[in-house]
C-alpha cells in the first residue's frame, strides 16, 4: 500500500502548488506599448464557418474576410455610398446594361501574384459556375431561373473589366460592394481547391495566419498593402466566446480588447468605467412583431392596427436596448435611401386600440400566441424579454398573448409555414438598399420565404418589382415611398425598433468605426 500513499502525497503536493499559483498569478500586461507588437483581440459570439467570403452566409465569417479581401467598389466608412476600392473608376452605359471598371494597378495578392482584370474575370466566372455553392452571388445576381443577370465578364486589357448584363439592375454597384464579393487570388483558388476556405488569399490589409476552430483566427499585417501607412495593427485575433456575459467579463479582465454582441443591458456598465468605451454602429436593422396576415383574427386589418396602437415602442427601446435603438415606424431603417420621413406611426393609445378592436368585433379581446425568439439576434438581443413587455401591453387592451418559443431552426421553419400568430423577428440589411428590406420581407413573391407575415398586397408587390429595374434614383425612391404608405395602413407588422448592435472596447482604441452592414475592415484601427 506504499504506492497509494505516494500517489496521495503527489496529489496533495499538486493541489497545493495549484493553490499557490492561483493566488500568486499577476495580471498580464495588456501589451499595447508603443514599441511592442500591436495586437488587437476581437471577442465575438461564434466562430467563422468559412473564410471564403463568396461561400459565406454568416456574419462571423464575413467579419474576418472583410479584412482579408477587397472588392471592386466599397461602401463609405459611415454609410452605404459607393466608393472606389480595387476599381478606381467606372462607367455605366445609357441603358444600364454595360459597366466598365478601371482597376487599380500595382496591387498584389498575399501570395505575391498580381491583381488584374484576369483575376476579376476568374472570380466572377467561378461564382457563376456554381450557383448552388455561391449563395450570395445567386441571390444578388441570379435571375431566379438558375442563370445570372451578368451575361459576360470580359477583360478588355490588363486593368479594364467590362460587365454585360441581361437586364438592368438598380442595385448592381450596391451589391458589388458586399463583403461576399471580395476578389480572391486565382492562383490560390487553384492551388488549394476545396481547402481554399481555410487558406484565404486576397488583397486586403491583413493576411491570414492561423485558424484554430472555436479557439481563434489570427490575421497579420499585410506589409505590402497598397494603401500607404496601413494597416496600423500588427495582428488581429478573432476569439469566439459564446456567452455574452463571459465575453464581457473577458473584456473587463483584459483578455480581449473589443467585443461585439454586447447585451444592451450591459452598456451602462461599460460606459461607467473610464477604461472602456462604446463604439456605436449605425442601425441597419429592423426588429418587428409579425402579425401573420392569414390567421384569424389577425387577418382583420382593424385588429392589426389596434395591436399597433397598443404597443409602447419607446418603453421597449429604453428597457432592453439601453438607448441604443430608436422606435421604428417603417419596415426599414432611416439611413436607407427611399426611407419615408412623412409616414406617421400609430400612436401609443390604449383607448384608440380598444375602440378599433370593438369596431372589428373583438370588443372582449381575444387569445393568441406570441412567439419569442430563443436566440439573441443583432436586431433583438432578447426576444423573450421583449415578448414579456408586449404581453403586458396587449393585456391592457384585453388581448391575452401566450408566449411560445421553439428552438431557433424550428422557429424559422414554423413561422415560414405560417403557423405563428404573432411572432418576433427581424432583419439586418445585406447591401443597404430598400429592396433588401421591403421586397425581401414584404413582397408577395416572397411569401413562403422571408415574407413570414404572409403579407399579400399585390399593389405593393408591383411597386417593389417595378423599383428593382428603375435606374433613375429619384423615381425609384418615389416608388418605395408609395409602398411604405400602403404598408403602414395595412399594418402587416408592428415595426418595433431599429437597434444599433454596437461594440464595446478598451478606451485606448482609436479610429474604429463599426459599419452599418455589420462587418468592417480594421485597417485604420490603432491603439493610442
Amino acid at each position: 500500500m506504499k504506492k497509494w500513499k505516494l500517489a496521495m502525497m503527489m496529489l496533495l503536493i499538486f493541489t497545493l502548488s495549484f493553490a499557490l499559483i492561483g493566488c500568486g498569478g499577476d495580471d498580464d500586461e495588456s501589451g499595447n506599448g508603443s514599441d511592442e507588437e500591436k495586437i488587437l483581440i476581437f471577442g465575438r459570439g461564434g466562430d467563422s464557418v468559412t473564410l471564403d467570403p463568396a461561400k459565406a452566409t454568416d456574419g462571423e465569417s464575413l467579419k474576418v474576410t472583410a479584412n482579408l479581401y477587397e472588392n471592386l467598389v466599397t461602401y463609405g466608412e459611415e454609410d452605404t455610398s459607393i466608393n472606389p476600392q480595387l476599381a478606381t473608376e467606372w462607367e455605366v452605359s445609357e441603358d444600364g446594361l454595360l459597366f466598365t471598371f478601371k482597376l487599380r494597378e500595382g496591387v498584389k495578392f498575399h501570395d505575391g501574384t498580381d491583381f488584374n482584370a484576369e483575376a476579376v474575370v476568374t472570380n466572377f466566372n467561378l461564382w457563376a459556375s456554381d450557383l448552388e455553392s455561391y449563395y450570395y452571388y445567386n441571390s444578388q445576381y441570379g435571375d431566379g431561373n438558375n442563370g445570372t443577370i451578368i451575361e459576360e465578364v470580359k477583360a478588355i486589357d490588363d486593368y479594364t473589366v467590362e460587365f454585360k448584363l441581361t437586364r438592368s439592375q438598380a442595385t448592381f454597384l450596391q451589391n458589388m460592394a458586399m463583403d461576399s464579393f471580395g476578389i480572391a487570388s486565382p492562383a490560390a483558388i487553384e492551388k488549394y481547391g476545396e481547402d481554399f476556405k481555410k487558406n484565404p488569399v486576397g488583397t486586403g490589409p491583413f493576411k491570414f495566419e492561423e485558424w484554430k476552430e472555436e479557439e481563434r483566427i489570427v490575421i497579420v499585417k499585410n506589409e505590402d498593402y497598397w494603401k500607404e501607412g496601413y494597416p496600423k495593427l500588427d495582428k488581429v485575433i478573432f476569439k469566439p466566446i459564446a456567452d455574452n456575459q463571459a465575453r464581457l467579463n473577458a473584456l473587463f479582465t483584459g483578455d480581449i480588447d473589443l467585443m461585439d454582441g454586447i447585451s444592451y443591458t450591459d452598456i451602462a456598465q461599460v460606459t461607467s468605467k473610464s477604461e472602456f468605451q462604446m463604439f456605436e454602429r449605425k442601425s441597419n436593422t429592423i426588429g418587428y412583431l409579425g402579425l401573420t396576415n392569414t390567421r384569424e383574427p389577425l387577418d382583420n386589418k382593424l385588429v392589426r392596427q389596434a395591436l399597433n396602437h397598443a404597443v409602447n415602442k419607446q418603453e421597449i427601446a429604453d428597457a432592453f436596448y439601453g438607448g441604443y435603438a430608436v422606435p421604428a415606424i417603417n419596415p426599414m431603417p432611416p439611413l436607407i435611401n427611399g426611407y419615408h420621413e412623412g409616414v406617421e406611426d400609430y400612436a401609443f393609445d390604449v383607448e384608440k386600440a380598444k375602440s378599433l378592436l370593438a369596431e372589428a368585433g373583438y370588443g372582449d379581446g381575444f387569445e393568441m400566441e406570441l412567439w419569442a425568439m430563443p436566440v439573441p439576434r443583432p436586431y433583438m438581443p432578447d426576444g423573450r424579454k421583449v415578448a414579456q413587455l408586449l404581453q403586458k401591453q396587449f393585456e391592457e387592451i384585453g388581448v391575452t398573448a401566450e408566449i411560445v418559443s421553439y428552438e431557433w431552426g424550428t422557429y424559422l421553419d414554423k413561422a415560414k409555414a405560417g403557423e405563428a400568430d404573432a411572432f418576433l423577428l427581424g432583419w439586418t440589411g445585406d447591401n443597404g438598399d430598400a429592396d433588401n428590406f421591403l421586397y425581401t420581407l414584404l413582397g408577395k413573391d416572397n411569401i413562403g420565404s422571408n415574407n413570414y407575415a404572409y403579407y399579400g398586397n399585390e399593389e405593393v408587390n408591383d411597386l417593389l418589382v417595378q423599383a428593382q429595374t428603375e435606374t433613375d434614383t429619384a423615381e425609384r425612391e418615389k416608388l418605395y415611398m408609395e409602398a411604405q404608405e400602403i404598408i403602414k395602413d395595412d399594418a402587416p407588422w408592428i415595426p418595433l425598433v431599429h437597434a444599433k448592435p454596437s461594440v464595446a472596447g478598451k478606451e485606448n482604441i482609436i479610429n474604429y468605426i463599426p459599419h452599418m452592414t455589420g462587418n468592417e475592415s480594421l485597417e485604420k484601427v490603432d491603439f493610442k
Partner: protein, 299 residues
Amino acid sequence: MSQVAENQSPLQPSSQHDEVVSPWLDAWRKFRKNKLALFGAITVIFFIILGILSPWIAPQGINDQNMANTLQAPSSSHLLGTDDFGRDVLSRIIHGARISLWVGFLSVVGSIVMGCLLGILAGYYGRWVDTIISRLFDIMLAFPSILLAITIVAVLGPSLQNALIAIAIINVPNFGRLIRSKVLSVKQEEYIMAAKAIGMKDSRLLMKHILPNSISPIIVQGTLSIGTAIIEAAALGFLGLGAQPPQPEWGQMLAESKAYITTAPWTMIFPGLAIMLTVLGFNLMGDGLRDALDPKMKH
C-alpha cells in the same frame, strides 16, 4: 455497474419483513431523532406551504411589471429587490416554489411509474425481456443525462411540460434498476415460491408481495431524486429549454437575470439560493429517511 453490490447482497438477507413491530413507527422514531433530517423536512414543508399558498401570501403577482421601478436593490418595500421588469423578486421566488416543486414531484412520480413497470417486467420475466430492458438502462445511463434531456426537449419543443417529461425519462433507469434488483431478490424468497406453487396469479403476486417490499427504497430514492429533478429543471430553464417567460421558474429567473450579475446581483443570488435550499432540504430528508427506513442501504 458495480460488482461489489451484487456480491454483497446475498450475504445480507434483504427484508424488513421479519420485523414484527410496525416498521413505519420505528422509522418515524429514528427519523425524529435525526436533527439534520428534521431540518430538511421542515425546509421542504416550508417550501411546499409557500408553493401552495403562493397566490395568497406573495406580495405581488407573477407578472406585475413596473417599468418605472426596475432593478431596485432590496428594501423594505421589496425585501429581495426588483428585476428588470420592476417585478418583486421575492414574489416571483414564492410563485416559483410552486413550479419547481411541482416539476420535481411530478417528474419523479413519472420516473417511478415507468421505472416500476420496466423494472418489474425485467426482474419478473427475466430472459430476453430482462436483457432488452437492462441494456436499455445501460444505454441511458451511458448518456450524460442533461444531454439526453436537452435532446428530448429539442424534439418536443421547449416548455415546462416537456422539460418535465424529459426529466422523468432520464431518471427512469435509476428506479428501474432498483425495482429490478428488488424483484430478483424477492423472487428467491420461499413464500413467493410457495405462492407461485399454489397457483397465485402473477399480477396478484406483484401487488401483494413485491411492490410493498419495494416501497421504502423507492421512498428514499424518490426523495433524493426530487432534489436532482429540481436542479435538472432549473438547468433546462437556464438554457431556455424549460419554463417559458413570464413563468417564474427559478432556473429561468437565473437565465433572465444573468446580465445583471454585477449591477443587480440580488436578481441572481436569491433564485439560486432558493434552488439550493429546496434541494438541500430534499437531500437531508432523503438521507434521514434512508437511515430510518433501511439502515443497510448505503450510497
